[in-house]
């Protein structure tokens, strides 16, 4: 009997060895995230004998170039990390697997995900990606610079008018070299927020979803702030436009407020000894208008050409639903999508994570997803940044003429 069991075991192990399922898992990140994912992938391999996870990783820029080449060449990784900025490009061309059947048969359990978060992963009716963590943009501020200026910290319900006043007051209190806020006139996230507060959207189908007047108002905020010294001069802003956290104006105490993605909060805090705070992006001046916050995040997808869809989806399910994973993962991309996972990591949050959680809970009732973007949306938005730079540096006689230039550019790209 014992012998028989032994033989059986050997056979089973043998088939296990021969029936190895290699899955290619691709993600973007730096060395800390690579270590995290390697740890998780090792754990999954141990728990699931027969599954081999071949790992492909790179920084954000190289990741997308390699992925585009692989998909074009018909050699996409099985499990792909996705971002909403690229969703349209990949999903609309059928490169991502429709996960809906797997949700229906229970392989992928999205029961603990709020409906809105599940919908964020939809392209048309199909679920093509699952949230790994979501956050919204907010205002990261340096408490010391506020204290020294004798100003109260911004609250969750502050408005654009208060934002302008606060920024100018800080600049005046601290004198030259320190400014109230970062200049975000060229940032699409605040643009989108501003338009949603006016009941508009960035895009409407294959055209812009807002008017010239809307953009004139938006850029005028920043034009006023530049003139009043509430934000740094154009050359200082532009000089640090692509600086890393450790080299950012917020960490160097050049500005007191940085408008940026909420999930970057802990990184900023890591590199400064001053206490940081996190609040919402400014609300509309009209209290009746919607707050407009946009939920953004990182997602995981499966290639439509994978040879092992079931195994790939099983891994995805494990990654987003296993409490042990959540505790290791620790909100790497912001609070996890599943409510259960959020609870699982509640006790291990650092103060910076807690501040992000607080803000997210405050905006949750009104926050929503960005609308589906047309193809080439990214190109329109980079033209938006460029024209704003021209405006900052005085290459346009007025805000109106810059707006005209942008609309012409958008028209060229979208048609």
């Amino acid at each position: 009997m014992r012998r028989l069991v032994a033989v059986l075991l050997v056979c089973l192990l043998g088939t296990a060895v021969f029936a190895q399922t290699p899955l290619r898992l691709a993600w973007w990140g730096g060395d800390a995230r690579h270590a995290l994912y390697n740890e998780l992938a090792d754990r999954y391999e141990q728990q699931n004998p027969g599954v081999i996870l071949d790992r492909e990783f790179a920084g954000w820029g190289p990741y997308w170039e390699r992925l585009a080449t692989q998909v074009a060449g018909g050699n996409a990784p099985d499990i792909i990390h996705m971002h909403e900025a690229f969703l349209t490009e990949y999903a609309s061309r059928g490169t991502l697997l429709d996960l809906t059947p797997f949700v229906e048969d229970g392989t992928l359990d999205l029961g603990d995900f709020p409906e809105g978060i599940v919908d964020a992963g939809r392209a048309g009716d199909a679920i093509v990606m699952v949230s790994l963590g979501n956050s919204s943009s907010g205002t990261h501020y340096n408490t010391r610079l506020f204290d020294e200026a004798g100003l109260p910290y911004p609250t969750f319900d502050w408005t654009w008018a208060e934002f302008e006043e606060t920024a100018i007051a800080i600049s005046e209190a601290h004198g030259p070299g320190v400014y109230g806020a970062s200049d975000q006139g060229g940032w699409d996230a605040t643009l989108e927020l501003f338009m949603r507060q006016r009941g508009k959207t960035l895009f409407d189908g294959n055209a812009l979803g807002f008017t010239r007047d809307d953009l004139v108002e938006y850029w005028s905020i920043w034009q006023r702030l530049r003139e009043a010294g509430g934000v740094p001069p154009a050359d200082v802003t532009s000089e640090r436009s692509s600086a890393a956290h450790q080299d950012s104006m917020l960490v160097h105490n050049v500005i007191a407020m940085q408008l940026m993605s909420g999930n970057q909060h802990r990184l900023f805090q890591q590199y400064t000894d001053d206490g940081l705070g996190l609040t919402t992006l400014p609300r509309p001046n009209d209290p009746a208008a919607p707050a407009g916050d946009v939920i953004s995040g990182a997602y995981i997808s499966v290639s439509s050409r994978t040879r092992n869809p079931v195994e790939a989806v099983r891994f995805v399910n494990w990654l987003v639903n296993d409490p042990e994973v959540a505790r290791t993962y620790g909100g790497e991309h912001g609070p996890p999508g599943s409510v259960l996972m959020q609870e699982a990591i509640a006790d291990q949050m650092e103060p910076a994570d807690q501040r992000l959680m607080d803000m997210m809970q405050y905006i949750a009732p009104t926050a929503g997803l960005g609308e589906v973007r047309p193809q080439n949306a990214g190109e329109v938005l980079s033209a938006f940044t460029t024209v704003h730079e021209e405006l900052m540096f005085g290459r346009h006689p007025s805000v109106e003429s810059a707006v005209d230039a942008f609309f012409a550019e958008a028209d060229f790209v979208l048609n």
Partner: protein, 278 residues
């Protein structure tokens, strides 16, 4: 003729002053590699106010596999590329510089054209080609092509050097009964040694630094090269580790720099070109 010692001294002074201008970023990088990460962007001076070896300790093993593995991989690829490039570029150059053959001009023009087309647009067809050959996740795409011509830059370089060798030398050998292969081996190869060493140096450096090809064709961590491993410390969307990046970059420059100095020494002293007698 001996130069006056004073002139020599002045030249040294001038060269040293220029050298500081050239060395500064390297010195800054070395200094930063010994700074605690929180200081790197705050304390921009050359002399660190606090030092640590953590960047080296952490960086060496940050990717689970010791960095020595990546050095080995890079060395293997670069060495093979050097061999392939030197041999095949020199061969091809000899034909273009010395021999008459049909379609010479169109072929030469075609060769130069391969340099003029930006690589981004041939990336995908090339990727598909290597995929069909089942060469993805192997070193082959990174060195095999160098054995087939070694690139137009090196061919053209060697053509120009060979054409600077007086033809009379070939003719003397030909009168002695040497065929084209013997002329190549006895005259052209030894006399174009400065060009070949230069070819070897650049072939090494450029294949060592070729991040994008390595990114596309290598994904297995055990096959990672030095540039791939270095770039793993950088992520423009999130967290970058500059301390370990500078530490490992410093280490990765040492072998390349030493090799470069040795090659130049060889070029300065080793080759006894008594001159080419015209």
């Amino acid at each position: 003729m001996k130069r006056a010692p004073r002139t020599t001294w002045l030249i040294h002074l001038g060269l040293a002053a220029g050298a500081i201008l050239m060395l500064y970023p390297l010195l800054w990088m070395i200094s930063s590699s010994f700074k605690p990460p929180s200081l790197i962007f705050r304390d921009l001076g050359l002399w660190p106010s606090a030092t640590t070896l953590d960047n080296y300790r952490y960086g060496w093993t940050a990717l689970n596999i010791p960095f020595s593995r990546f050095f080995l991989n890079s060395f293997l690829i670069s060495s093979l590329s050097v061999i392939g490039t030197v041999i095949s570029a020199s061969f091809t150059a000899y034909a273009f510089a010395r021999l008459e053959f049909r379609f010479k001009r169109p072929l030469f023009a075609l060769m130069l054209m391969t340099l003029m087309l930006p690589g981004h647009v041939t990336l995908i067809p090339q990727y598909v080609l290597f995929l069909r050959l089942d060469w993805i996740n192997t070193f082959y795409p990174l060195w095999v092509p160098s054995f087939f011509g070694g690139g137009a830059f090196f061919i053209f370089l060697n053509v120009q050097f060979i054409r600077s060798i007086p033809r009379e030398l070939d003719e003397v050998a030909e009168v002695d009964g040497a065929n084209h292969f013997q002329v190549y081996w006895r005259i052209i190869f030894p006399l174009s040694l400065p060009a070949l060493i230069t070819t070897a140096v650049f072939a090494f450096l450029w294949s060592w630094d070729d991040f994008f090809s390595q990114l596309l064709y290598i994904s297995d961590i055990r096959l990672h090269t030095v540039p791939l491993a270095l770039r793993a410390f950088l992520d423009s969307s999130g967290e970058s580790s500059f301390g370990p990046l500078f530490a490992m970059s410093t280490l990765s420059l040492i072998p390349v720099f030493v090799l470069f100095v040795l090659a130049q020494r060889f070029l300065v002293q080793g080759i006894a070109t008594s001159g080419v007698k015209g």
